[in-house]
Symmetry: C2
């Protein structure tokens, strides 16, 4: 069984949407990635940092999904990363109300010995220097390193970001961030410029409009499943990344055709994530539900044109 190393935040989130609001609930990139990747037969492990305010039941929830948390540092007396945000009516934009880095401020990730040979590494959105340090700790070159990042790091740590993206295979990034990173408006040209910075594969996440995978001129597009109601978009991007990484780890096939499937699985799992607040929908999502939605994705996208 392949190993999938997941690096990212475990967090408290407080979310407000037009449909309601939450108290502090379980959040964080690594959480969403882990829950999503747990739908594939892989050995997943999380590297992260938390305070001792992080409830044991949250760790237990991850253990129940067979996710190894030996790489999670628990800081005594420390407080766990906290994010609070409010979504606008269109659900595509949000305001960050509070960001408390807390223990994350001094995060020096330590990859457990048992995960230094992981076949796939999924670097969730974190300071690029932290992401870089994880790559340097790998004892065997991974088959695939996937990196997620955001505009914030382009603003405050562009040099570090450029350094780490030289070493990775796949970058996942939203459309605006792809434009910012490349200075190109067209996503086709943006992907080309980003290829030149290192990653062979660029996955451009377009929220409700789906995701575009680009590899040196080859392109694949997966729509998001049109939903009657999007309840809470928090974690959708990480859930997408977790599905992508989990599928690649399970299949150990990094051909473009197989990456198409990984994108479809990512979109599939993300379409569930947004149906309820936080991780609620992902916690009890069944294999049958995912399979049924896969059929919906086929219906939604596949056609048969006879060529003359």
């Amino acid at each position: 069984m392949s190993k999938l190393l997941i690096v990212g935040t475990l967090a408290f989130d407080k979310i407000e949407t037009p449909f309601g609001k939450t108290d502090k609930i379980l959040g964080g990139a690594a959480t969403y990635i882990g829950l999503s990747a747990s739908h594939f037969d892989v050995e997943s492990g999380i590297v992260s940092i938390i305070g001792d305010d992080f409830p044991n039941e949250y760790l237990q929830l991850l253990h129940n999904k067979n996710i190894d948390t030996s790489g999670v540092e628990i800081v005594k007396g420390g407080k766990t990363f906290f994010w609070s945000g409010k979504y606008h009516n269109d659900m595509n934009t949000r305001d960050t109300l509070i960001t408390e880095l807390n223990t994350l401020e001094d995060f020096n990730p330590v990859v457990p010995a048992s995960f230094k040979d992981a076949e796939v590494v999924m670097l969730g959105n974190l300071h690029p220097a932290v992401q870089n340090s994880v790559i340097d700790q790998m004892s065997v070159k991974p088959k695939m390193i996937i990196l997620d990042t955001m505009n914030f790091w382009m603003d405050v740590a562009l040099d570090d970001l450029k350094k780490v993206i030289k070493k990775i295979d796949v970058i996942t990034i939203n459309d605006e961030e792809a434009r910012q990173l490349s200075g190109e408006y067209s996503l086709v040209n943006a992907a080309k410029k980003i290829h030149e910075m290192g990653p062979k594969y660029v996955v451009i996440k377009k929220g409700e409009h789906g995701a575009l995978l680009v590899n040196e001129g080859k392109m694949f597009y997966a729509p998001a499943l049109p939903l009657a109601s999007v309840f809470d978009p928090t974690g959708a991007g990480d859930t997408f990344a977790g599905g992508f990484a989990g599928y690649i780890a399970k299949t150990e096939d990094i051909s473009f055709n197989n990456m198409k499937n990984a994108v479809i699985y990512g979109s599939n799992l993300a379409s569930f994530c947004v149906e309820k607040f936080g991780t609620e929908r992902m916690q009890n999502l069944t294999k049958d539900e995912v399979l049924q939605r896969l059929h919906q994705f086929k219906e939604l996208t596949q056609f048969e044109i006879e060529l003359e």
Copy 2:
């Protein structure tokens, strides 16, 4: 051979984009629809109105594509409809600078006898009362009536619009317009409400994000082809509609599966339209180019997942 009746404007357009600007050039919904539908073996005829300022070479251009223009009324001393617009940098939004209705103001469409039994009717964006009058003139119930409209008619002629959409099979509309017409934000719910107003099929055009076909719970999504540069979006929606209508007319098959193909052909042809100013790219587009792009659309969207 099936007949396709096209109703819509023949016009002068003056266009400004970040890449340049034009003088008065050939434009109009019927023009784009006709050029696009000419890629299929159908007998197309346009019903429209122009002034005698409309150059003969423009009519000749349509004749050369085997488009019948006997239903085009030429008003002596009249001036042809004129539109001028300027696109913003993102190419997704534009300002209308000038709209001169001219002869269009008193347009009473007369369907030529030879097209009163057309199998497919494509009603381009016009006053809904004008669209309605065309339907009333058909002597044989068409296999499919497709209607395009816009927010302007929802603002000023909603009752007329509601009357005509009761009689049609397919409505093509952009995402914002679908929201306005239905009062629903989610496109899934918007399509449901629009079904209840009459049309069994709703095609929601999302510009650079593609098009969504909805039929009572069934959905199909065709992305727009990601392009390195979009030169001029004018006419893309009409070109989409023309490809859709032309394919349906040629195949005479109104099953959902065949309509998927019609959506793909519509997206395919629209992807060419935006590559040059106005109708320039469509005038000399070859069958081989369309076929090659069809392969690109398959590459872009088709995947093979083995279900366990």
